[in-house]
Subunit: 248 residues, 2 copies
DNA sequence: AAATGCTTTTGACCAGAATCAAGGATGCGA
DNA sequence: TCGCATCCTTGATTCTGGTCAAAAGCATTT
């Protein structure tokens, strides 16, 4: 309880910093010379079904996700990627309809895997940094498996709100404001819930005062502490999604 | 050249090939000189709550998993690790009770992350191989999120059987034999199912002729094709769990 | 303003899995 | 051999969330 409150207080929700502070990108002069900048509009796919060779993507801005289209079922959003994340083609399981898709207007760097590896080989420090980054992404994927595996609908939704608040939120007078970049169906697909069920959950959250103004992507979280208390993984989300430079 | 990151003891079941040829010890690498060999008995934990520093584990033999103990809920088995897999401490989300646990008698190499990074920096080829390996593990984690997120109990169980068949199975006269190294509760925790529900599922599978002799860890899969048809992710499992060098 | 097409909400109903509880195996030690 | 403990099975019940359908917003078009 206390730690959650501290998390809320220490939360540095600083939009600009989150958006353009991928650690991997700072000494990336060599990287940006070899990478192809790609701008992707919402819903645009980056990983094709049969790519010619292993490719690495580095998120510069925006939000992307891995999606799959199981036969006869709803679309799944399996993972979210934020600026600084590293995605290579083989990280995406070849599920039917699997692709790396932009959820908002995004900028990524694309380069062949062998170029990426050659660049990392030239810089042990960047290499180590990339490894840490990939490990962190792996932890997020495992956490998501834990969330959709055992938590109920309310807890899942609260977990997503905490994640987005930590990543994209900014502190305002009445609480924490988040411009949620996901559509309603995106959220439902990410949480493995039905759109109908998600609607009921948001209604409950509004009734409980955990959420207001959920329209047009504008969301206000009036009671961050209460929201964190609604999910058992708030502390874990904090360690994985709060910017490391929070103390600055 | 055989790499340490490739399956040391993989037993591919490829329909045409009997799998009983464990690879001979691969060429000694600099890794084994700097790593501490660790032997873990079943249920032994390798990642402590507060480790002194970032640590890397490389699975040599056996089977390990990431487990978590959510407050007031059942244990979760979030991920399985096979020989050749690379696990670093930050890959494990700090969920309550999270740890890397041996599911069978296992051998791993343990070394500090900075040693691992230094060794990889000295060998670009091994570095690239490690990156590919980690990406593959990431794909497996994402696939597991997909499985527990949308498949029903029967499909989840079939998916696990396919995975274990590909990893550990051997072709016999009456079908594919698997010595399942997971206990009943392990399986339930991995599939995010209740032990009671799992019991019903196994009964159904036996009645449908998909499974026999499920006792004492000895399992026979008489109809591999029918089993694969019971899960929508059979093809994906094949690509992620069947060794690419299965034709050797 | 009326019409159209879309998403969201809400209600009624249903299915799958969890829970609880009672047997039935199985294994171990005295 | 008999307890004794543990795990597995099976049945009855509950509950969460999915499915289906209708109604309500909402925006754009005519």
């Amino acid at each position: 309880m206390m730690s959650i409150f501290q998390n809320a207080a220490a939360q540095p929700v600083n939009h600009e910093q989150t958006a353009l502070a991928p650690k991997i990108a700072e000494p990336a002069s060599a990287l940006c010379e070899h990478a192809t900048p790609v701008r992707a509009r919402r819903r645009q796919r980056l990983v094709l079904e049969h790519p010619p060779s292993e490719t690495v993507y580095i998120v510069r801005s925006g939000l992307l996700g891995i999606e799959a289209l199981p036969a006869g079922k709803h679309r799944q959003l399996l993972e979210l990627f934020y600026p600084g994340d590293i995605i290579r083609r083989s990280q995406v399981p070849n599920l039917p309809g699997a692709s790396l898709t932009a959820l908002t207007l995004s900028e990524v760097w694309r380069l062949p895997a062998h170029s990426f590896e050659a660049l990392l080989a030239a810089s042990p420090e960047q290499n180590a940094q990339a490894q840490r980054r990939v490990a962190e992404q792996h932890a997020r994927a495992t956490l998501h498996a834990s969330i959709v595996g055992t938590l109920n609908g309310d807890e899942r939704f609260a977990s997503l709100l905490v994640e987005l608040g930590l990543r994209l939120g900014s502190i305002g007078p009445a609480g924490i404001t988040v411009d949620v970049p996901l559509s309603r169906t995106d959220i439902a697909d990410y949480l493995a819930l039905n759109p109908d069920t998600l609607s009921r959950i948001t209604s409950r959250f509004k009734a409980r005062g955990l959420l207001t103004q959920f329209g047009g992507g504008h969301t206000l979280i009036p009671a961050w502490e209460a929201l964190c208390a609604s999910t058992p993984v708030a502390a874990t989300l904090q360690t994985l999604h709060a910017p490391p430079a929070a103390t600055a």
